[in-house]
């Protein structure tokens, strides 16, 4: 029986929590729901999370993922946290750009610059 691959991987660094999407395509509703539950669980474990969502593996996504990101951002900001997105490939970035979501998300080229953009921990 093939092992089920987790949809996200989580890395805790000094200044941020980095969630990397592991799938190339994020399309199916059940996968998006599963990802949302996982991300929300990570958010709830922290008091004021500085979260970086890493899209380096993502080659394709649907608009439902954009909705997921908005729900995640609302949850984070309700808890006085910070959210950044990073490593979005040009085709995916175009979706953010034409929907004007570049106006509401902080998007960085990579994890390092996203980390630099976050407030330092005490």
């Amino acid at each position: 029986m093939a092992a089920i691959k987790p949809k996200i991987s989580v890395q805790y660094t000094e200044n941020a929590t980095v969630i990397t999407f592991t799938s190339e395509k994020i399309l199916e509703e059940k996968d998006i729901q599963s990802i949302q539950e996982s991300i929300m669980s990570v958010i709830e474990q922290a008091e004021r999370i500085s979260l970086i969502l890493d899209f380096s593996n993502v080659k394709f996504l649907s608009s439902a993922v954009l909705g997921l990101l908005i729900r995640v951002s609302k949850k984070i900001y309700e808890r006085d946290g910070r959210l950044s997105l990073c490593s979005i490939n040009p085709k995916i970035y175009e979706i953010f750009k034409i929907t004007r979501l570049t106006k509401i998300f902080d998007i960085y080229p990579d994890i390092e610059s996203a980390t630099e953009g976050l407030p330092k921990s005490d």
Binding site: F60, S62, L66, L68, I95
Partner: protein
């Protein structure tokens, strides 16, 4: 071997999100065989996914007994896709622009906008439960050329 004649297909599926997977694979495979570029393939893939989800969610209300009909035709120059659900239809012009005001912060409502942005032509039937969309090989879509109107 690339066909010079239109490749016409018609498929009927139940209102299940996973039903688009195989159809999408076939359509994208046809595009590759007809030498469509990666930009075009991405655009068609996105529009197809969004249109299908709209059909099953908004058209057929996720009723598994209702079906979605997908017709597609691939030539060397373009792909035409028609998606028809068994719902009551809707008024496409009544869908708010997701880019401005409070709509920007909503968790949904971007599917139709993306379809319009990534396909070269789209047209709904009179009742609004059927959508025909066309992508021309190598032709810039709205996504690449449109600048947002002033708010």
């Amino acid at each position: 071997m690339t066909s010079e004649k239109p490749v016409n297909h018609s498929i009927v599926v139940a209102s299940e999100p996973s039903a688009i997977v195989e159809i999408s694979r076939k359509i994208l495979s046809s595009l590759k065989a007809s030498k469509f570029g990666q930009e075009d393939i991405f655009a068609v893939h996105l529009a197809l996914e969004e249109a299908f989800i709209n059909s099953i969610r908004h058209g057929n209300k996720m009723d598994p007994t209702k079906e979605v009909k997908i017709d597609y035709s691939v030539t060397l120059d373009k792909i035409e896709i028609s998606i028809t659900d068994q719902g009551n239809g809707f008024k496409p012009d009544a869908v708010p622009d997701p880019r401005f005001g409070d709509n920007l912060y909503k968790t949904g409502g971007r599917g139709l906008f993306l379809i319009r942005s990534y396909m070269n032509e789209i047209k709904f039937n009179e009742s609004g439960n059927g959508l025909r969309m066309v992508k021309y090989k190598g032709k810039s879509s709205l996504a690449e050329t449109q600048t947002p109107p002033q708010s």
